[in-house]
């Protein structure tokens, strides 16, 4: 199946950048040196990243290799519907601006490093914190696996099959490199690598969206060709939305935007900033990456216009790169995408490790950890998480990781009431939030399963059917249960569990 032939120039360029980044990953341990036997140093980079570093870190973290391949793949397959990623990334930053500085402030004040830490301190409920931690770890595992899937796609497009070393070997090498520098340098490694990777990505995308349309006769011609391809294909495809796609498009965008910063990798990168204004500045400047994502999505249309014919949509952009660029630049582009897998995979494994160590191991197994022990456990868990993802990619069908990632998004949304509402009010009671979480998780999983693991469920109302993102439906159920159960919980137990935070913990500290 791997139609691509191995090109030694492309391979040489690719290996060069990979090696460069590997060295950087290890050097990172000495960058802004801190005591890496402290979890907040290893797992949050000492909360010292300024606006500029945070911009690269979050950009490299949120716009993952899988995103870079899956979004144009969806556009290649169905057209306009795949662009829900655009309103999604528009909605997300106002939400970040209004919520994340509060989370940063309160976590800094109390030395918390995860959202579950915050939930435990705010509601005094270890059970609710455990629910938040489990949700984060569960949703992150398949996401890491998908980054490795992204790597696989790149390797396939480069024709690594022709090397005769088997499909697993390059993945294994990349994995070992990633695991080792994450272990030794913690969050500093992806932060430093993100500089190189993002610079390469901007070059790749700008070259692609300028050069390829010129070859194809301009954007007008690209869209005309795409429209023709969709007309031949039929079904719910096209360069603008079909009416029955309006609701799925809007609700997917909104639900995904609510979910994004609940993911542990997003929380981890946010909390590693050096202050609330750093986060606000990033909410202003991160949309530059959204423009990039929109341009990447357009590559799906260019692949159609260039008559790229692939069975697996994931191969559309890699095949387009091979067809449009000389080998040395193709190698550069592939290195950019592959490094785009390593940065988020590192941060995700750190985020999951922070959660596991703090909110599962320390809370339930051994509450008398020294700081050094805590940091060591987190390092080992980050290895374990990545190893699990590697096994999943090697031995389970890819569809398994994709389906779990879809469920992960639905699950992630269910901690919204506890975490985001908790930043503003404590009116909802912990037991009620826990019941709501259970309801949301159950309903979301059941609906997704019932739909054959598709994200949208058709809700009938007044004789019409509206396709709604299942994550949002489950969140509504979650809220209803939490709101109804709160007065009941208050009747059963008049005094709520103790809240360790105070109103001014959420506000920016006044400089003294």
């Amino acid at each position: 199946m791997s139609g691509a032939k191995l090109d030694w120039t492309a391979l040489g360029v690719f290996v060069f950048f990979f090696a460069l980044v590997t060295v950087l990953g290890f050097v990172a341990a000495r960058w802004r040196r801190g005591d890496l036997s402290q979890l907040h140093e290893w797992g949050l980079g000492g909360r010292r990243f300024g606006a500029f570093v945070t911009w690269f870190l979050l950009g490299g973290d949120l716009y993952t290799a899988y995103t870079l391949i899956a979004v144009p793949a969806l556009v290649y397959a169905v057209g306009a519907y795949g662009f829900f990623a655009m309103p999604y990334t528009v909605f997300v930053y106002p939400i970040v601006f209004l919520t994340m500085p509060r989370l940063w402030n309160v976590c800094r004040k109390h030395g918390w490093i995860t959202s579950a830490d915050f939930v435990e301190g705010r509601y005094g409920s270890r059970g609710l914190a455990l629910a938040v931690a489990i949700t984060g770890v569960l949703a992150t595992m398949p996401y890491i696996a998908l980054q490795l899937v992204g790597l696989e796609v790149v390797f396939e497009a480069m024709g690594f099959g022709a090397l005769g070393i088997g499909k697993e070997t390059p993945l294994l090498i990349a994995f070992v490199i990633l695991a080792l520098y994450t272990y030794s340098s913690g969050l500093r490694a992806p932060a430093l690598i993100a500089f190189i990777k993002d610079a390469m990505l901007y070059i790749t995308v700008i070259a692609a969206v300028v050069i390829i349309p010129i070859k194809l006769g301009g954007y007008g011609a690209v869209f005309a060709a795409a429209e023709k391809a969709f007309a031949a294909k039929g079904g719910d495809t096209g360069v603008i939305l079909k009416p029955d796609q309006y609701w799925p498009f809007a609700t997917l965008a909104l639900g995904s935007a609510f979910a994004l910063f609940l993911y542990p990798h997003a929380t981890t990168a946010t909390l590693s900033a050096n202050g609330p204004d750093t986060i606000r500045r990033n909410a202003v400047w991160l949309p530059a990456y959204s423009i990039l994502l929109g341009l990447i999505a357009l590559l799906g249309y260019m692949a159609l216009a260039a008559h790229i014919d692939v069975k697996n949509g994931s191969m559309a952009v890699p095949a387009l790169i091979n067809a449009s660029f000389p080998p040395w630049f193709a190698g550069f582009c592939f290195a950019a995408i592959a490094l785009g897998a390593l940065v988020p995979a590192a941060i995700m494994s750190i985020g999951a490790a922070n959660l596991f160590t703090r909110n599962i191991w320390r809370a339930y197994v051994n509450d008398r950890l020294t700081d050094a022990q805590e940091s060591r456990i987190a390092k080992n868990v980050s290895l374990l998480v990545k190893f699990g993802a590697l096994l999943a990619v090697l031995y389970l069908p890819t569809k398994f990781a994709i389906d779990l990632q879809l469920l992960g998004g639905i699950w992630m949304l269910q901690i919204f009431p506890a975490v985001i509402c908790g930043l503003f009010t404590r009116w909802l009671r912990a037991p009620a939030l826990l019941l709501g979480w259970i309801a949301g998780m159950a309903l979301g999983s059941a609906l997704a399963y019932h739909q054959g693991l598709k994200p949208v469920y058709a809700v009938g109302f007044g004789g019409q059917h509206y396709g709604i993102y299942i994550g949002l439906l489950a969140l509504v159920a979650n809220f209803i249960v939490a709101i109804v159960a709160t007065p009941v919980a208050a009747m059963l137990r008049r005094e709520p569990l103790p809240d360790r935070t105070q109103i001014h913990d959420y506000e920016d500290a006044v400089p003294d």
Partner: protein, 62 residues
């Protein structure tokens, strides 16, 4: 001064109004630099939202 600006974060709702109802912008014409309106509108709102966020950010410090 500070008190009178408390409404300012509400301008962050505008992008939601502009993008949550697709029939509003789900059209090919007018095309802008070859981009159908559907895409041009969405790209524009990435930039406009960034500006609105910046305005709210500046407003906090006034």
């Amino acid at each position: 001064m500070r008190r009178s600006r408390r409404w300012l974060p509400l301008i962050l709702l505008i992008p939601f109004v502009a993008l949550l109802w697709p029939p509003f912008y789900n059209r090919i014409d007018p095309t802008i630099a070859g981009l159908p309106f559907f895409y041009a509108w969405q790209f524009a709102w990435i930039a406009i939202t960034a500006v609105l966020t910046w305005i709210v950010f500046r407003g906090r410090r006034a």
